[in-house]
Symmetry: C2
Subunit: 279 residues, 2 copies
DNA sequence: ATGAATGGTCTAATCGTGATACCATTAGCG
DNA sequence: CGCTAATGGTATCACGATTAGACCATTCAT
């Protein structure tokens, strides 16, 4: 994003198309950032945690096992663990029955949430726009391509989430919130899988990973509306109704964004309802 | 995508949600593929070529300059050049006025195209679905967020493309096809830039890169319809009409896919108009 | 107390990368 | 023709990342 340099181009294009300066977003060659193996390990473990494959209290496999599974040396695994430990994602315990324990993300105080969310607003807007683009298409395509096993797994997620919401008292338990979010992720990922498009699948996984940090510190209770929306999406996909599936997904995501909006500063001058148009 | 291993999870989730097997797409930890720096160089140079920043006949900057710009050693640059040379993307010439010359992609014979495209059909479908999802959203958002400079650059691209199409004789010139594709890429990238969403921007760039190999060997003449469609997209974005911009983009991409379809085997049993629903 | 599991530490070898100098080839020019 | 400059080709040494393996230290269950 820094340097730029138009290549030695003896055959000047502009001979033909005249004033076609344009030359798109910047030049062609920019600096390379070498990627260490331990960084890749960090990324993969983070992704697993962010997608809910490990919830707080779970332990990662022992270092030796991680090394074997990832086909890297234990040294590299340990470097990665130092990073994750430093970022507060895991806690390292020595001795038997010890291990690499996934920590709960610190919840912010009520008065901290607003200012925190304010700083995340732009990122969240981008993420949700991207989600609407890709997940609506995912739902649309899934409606005509899903197979029985995928429908079964979607149903399984819905069942699990409903169970977690059953008693009001359980809605504020941290561990349950983590489990709910894991099932929520899984539902959306199965829909993406069912759409049979690897690019869209990757996009959905990426957004879920990207959402973790911004909203992980904020959620304190489960939203019932999510269950209803998930049911609607599921029903439309099961019925093979592509338009309905897409619209149900859109409504779900828009609603989800709005419920986040309630955690933000109440229209304090900003938020001039720009682009109030339906996305 | 190979190994899997559910973490040591003493706190069994299934205690609560009962038969929630699900456990989404596979396990959590898979093998790491270390990424060498020279691979990153290869990727970036490829991307620059695929996006049309360098067209056949252009020369990349000299090795020493590339090394300086990318902040890597010449050794690493040279490793990357070996790969690009091996893949037939560049030709290395020694001596003064020599350099790293971008080669034209070999065009296939008419009788080869069908079987080649047949093998690419699935990939192309995925790419185009992903494009529709993201670029329609990009156009929609761009309609309300674009600034004057972005409009100017879009217009500049349109002008350049029209100029290239002016005389029928010039439509089959290889160099012109490359220039046309570069401007086409640039137009779509500026739209993506104007949407102000970095995720969508990245998605658009990714798809254009992904399209290069499948269709690079096939195109032999320029399509006029692209110009008309581009004009329509531009007009809608200029007018701030989000719905029209999105729809114009959709039409453009769908048409583009259909014109590719004409290069494929003519419904030889396959292509049972599944998902014939409008995407 | 003992043993097993697990993280912590150390060491030697290997490989990727960087830095630098110098060689070989080629085009342009006096 | 012969120089010079630009550019790719080669060689060398140094350093850091990664691997492989052994061994130490801590903790819990029995």
């Amino acid at each position: 994003m820094n340097e730029q340099l138009s290549a030695a181009t003896p055959t000047d294009t502009s001979k033909i198309d005249g004033p076609s300066d344009a030359k798109v977003g910047q030049g062609a060659i920019s600096s390379i950032r070498p990627v260490s193996t331990y960084e890749l390990v960090v990324e993969q473990v983070k992704r697993a945690i962010f997608l809910g494959r490990f919830v707080p209290g779970d332990k990662l496999p022992p270092e030796r096992d991680l090394a074997a599974q990832m086909l890297v040396s234990r040294t590299t695994i340990r470097e990665a663990m130092r990073v994750l430990e430093g970022e507060g994602l895991i806690q390292v315990k020595r001795g038997a029955m010890g291990g690499l324990v996934v920590k709960a993300q610190t919840n912010l105080q009520a008065n901290e949430i607003e200012s925190y969310m304010e700083g995340q607003r732009e990122l969240l807007d981008s993420i949700y726009e991207y989600r609407i683009a890709n997940e609506c298409m995912a739902a649309r395509l899934a409606a005509t391509r899903r197979n029985k096993d995928q429908l079964r797994r979607m149903g399984s997620c819905l069942k699990g989430m409903k169970a977690l919401c059953e008693t009001p008292a359980m809605r504020a338990i941290t561990a349950n919130i983590a489990r709910f979010r894991a099932l929520d992720s899984e539902f959306h990922l199965v829909v993406a899988e069912a759409c049979g498009n690897r690019f869209i699948m990757q996009a959905v996984e990426d957004t879920r990973t990207a959402m973790f940090l911004p909203i992980g510190k904020v959620f304190k209770r489960l939203e019932d509306s999510a269950n209803e929306h998930h049911e609607a999406i599921y029903a439309a996909i099961k019925d093979g109704d592509a338009d309905a599936a897409s619209e149900a997904m859109r409504l779900h995501i828009v609603t989800s964004r709005e419920s986040l909006e309630n955690l933000m500063p109440q229209d304090s001058g900003r938020r001039p309802k720009k682009s109030a148009k339906r996305v």
